[in-house]
């Protein structure tokens, strides 16, 4: 799975840009499967990407268009998918989102993730050994009715708290 060293992230969005370009030849956040969230009032930048969660919420696709591949990555079948949006609704952290009727989710670029290559701060890593390690149950509960951007924001606020506390302790004593 893709892992993150949050303290290193500057929020540049190179991961996002390169993800979009690799997958579509075009550039834009809409086309990216990793999306950088900013909580600007507290200096946090956080790239949100599929966590290959234990629960595999998105795989409960009614059309059986989503399967988990050998590296733990999520693969969407373009022939089976009807763009119903269930996966988008089911993901608790906004890591899968429809764009132009296609669910976009991290596919690890087939094992050579471009976001990892694009990051020059060594903030994003790929560990092929780790998959299904993270539970998103805690985020599932209250994610109903939120759009993907709102879900991502809520997720980032929760996961960046530790780093923020560390900064405050270090700089404000």
């Amino acid at each position: 799975m893709i892992t993150l060293d949050l303290a290193r992230c500057s929020g540049c969005s190179r991961c996002e840009v390169n993800c979009s370009f690799f997958h579509s030849g075009k550039i834009g956040r809409s086309g990216a499967r990793i999306k950088v969230l900013k909580i600007e009032d507290i200096g946090i930048d956080y790239p949100v990407v599929c966590q290959q969660c234990q629960e595999r919420y998105c795989a409960k696709c009614p059309e059986k268009a989503i399967r988990v591949d050998s590296l733990g990555q999520v693969i969407v079948s373009p022939t089976l998918c009807t763009a119903c949006g269930t996966c988008e609704i089911l993901c608790p952290i906004g890591a899968i989102e429809l764009f132009e009727e296609i669910p976009l989710v991290c596919d690890l670029c087939g094992g050579d993730p471009r976001c990892v290559k694009a990051c020059t701060l060594d903030a994003i890593h790929y560990d092929p050994e780790v998959t299904g390690a993270i539970s998103l149950k805690d985020f599932k509960k209250s994610s109903r009715g939120l759009n993907p951007e709102e879900k991502r924001l809520r997720y980032v606020i929760a996961l960046s708290q530790e780093l923020r506390d560390r900064w405050v302790a270090e700089r404000r004593g």
Binding site: S10, S30, K38, L153
Partner: protein, 603 residues
Amino acid sequence: MQNGYGGHILRVDLTSGSIHRKKTDPAYMLNVIGGRGLNSTRLYEELPRDCDPLTAENMLLIGVGPLTGTLLSASAFMTISGKSPLTGILGDSAAGGFFGAELKLAGYDQVVMTGRCEKPSYLYIADDHVEIRDASHLWGKDIWQTTAAIRKDINDNAVQVAAIGPAGENLVKYATVACNNSRMCGRTGMGCLFGSKHLKAVAVRGKGRLTVADPLGYLDLCRELDQKIMAHPEYEKRNALGSTLLMKALNGIGILPTDHFQHGLCEYVDRVSGETLAENFKVKNKSCFNCNLHCSRYYLVGEAEAEGPEFETLCSYTSRIGNHDLEFGLKMNAFLNRMGIDSLSSGETIGWAMECVQRGLLNKDDFDGLDFTWGNCQTVEKLLGMIIRREGIGDLFAEGTRSLARHFGKGSGEYAFHVKGLDMICGDPRGIKAFGLTYAIASRGGDHLRAEPFFELTERYDEAEKRWGVRDIADRLSDNGKAILVEHTERQALLTDCLTMCKNIGLSMDILDFDFASRLLIAGTGLKFTPEKVDDALKGVIDRDRKMNIDFGVTAEQDTLPKRFTHEPLKEGGSKGQVVPIGRMVKEYYKAKGWSAQGVPQD
């Protein structure tokens, strides 16, 4: 979308509320490229020359470069232009961050605003949807609050906002526009222009995707640029410190403005340096869109926090005003970011007052009882509040140093360090002659970014000989050949501005040349941007800027520097004994440009 370009020009009349989208014309763009070139040309063609900058007649433009928002590193800027409320001549200022890329993704290369909103408003652009919204509830809010409130209004954290603070609302002449809270369009008072139009902010969200003409060719070029940046000998240091490295670097060569340019050497530089900032207050690197240098920083200090400061702010609020206390400088940076005023211009008004008091020209009684002794932090803090609210003496300070000195007279004008009304940047020109020439001739007034002739600091003598046939060009203390250097780097600087690219990378790191830019433009846009075509476009923009400024009343006599820099040799340090022979240099510059002896472009 057109390849590279956003594909549309958006015109908004704030008075009538009429909104028009027009396709970007590729043939037109070939002559102006984009960004500042596009903005300047629009002003040249449409701006009524005699308009009062604060009236509805003035134009307010936001321009973005043709490659901004794409794979190209360090091209994240956007440029705001109009007739400057501070100087009365061409005004523009650029900021990095994420606004420029978002505007492109929404499908726009430029936003042209005219007229004036009847009540406080903000412009909201979401792809094809454009709307003028009520901002009554935002009026009075600072920039951080405004940005957060707009994102909440729209219920989208990814919306990019360029906003003004209370200073812009109160028409402080050097008010700024900020995006991403701390990324400032700082110079020439574009925030005041926003305020005069009752425009609190422009918010943009783009869900489109940009295309380039030759994706694989373009990818290769972008990778090549990435490599050049990463392999640059200064990469590590610039990554760690950004422009704040200049505190010690400029001090090392004796040109760090100290006590308002009375000294070029600051004995307490280690207390206020970028290194000390990084060690004690920085928590992490920050970056503009898609940049691989990540030269900015986030810091916490006491109860305050912000992104930045860049060198100019750091110096303006430490050594330039005799302040030894770095924490105070950092707090002021956070405060200025929130309130939206330019650190350079406000810092110069303070330095001017302090020097006038030191020399006995003016005293407490002239300044509402404020004590302007060097480094008096209480005074600085109190004054800034008064400037923002235009209260008491702050009302005069809000007009800028040129105006202040005219008001007080008594010889205080000799210590008002501006060129054409724009307060000078932090870098004593006496030890960097090409920079001195740049301040004198820059089309927006006393500023380095119009040419950023960084090459003169490199001591690359053989390279200087190879490029221009004059070895002295690599010697910062020599004025020989500097007009040739400035003529060259002025085009290079404009090129980065047209691409809305970062000058730290394009120019200071000497990474962007005309041939490479031409290849990027061709692969990106598919238009025939040959090196010759690019150069013609750049020369055209520079000449038009000059003609426009002449219409605004600029004369050759104003292409000069304050007397201190031409007549008072530096007393100590690495540039001891130096002054700038500005008259001779300006004449040589006109000649290099092919302008008349009076600095008028010849058709």
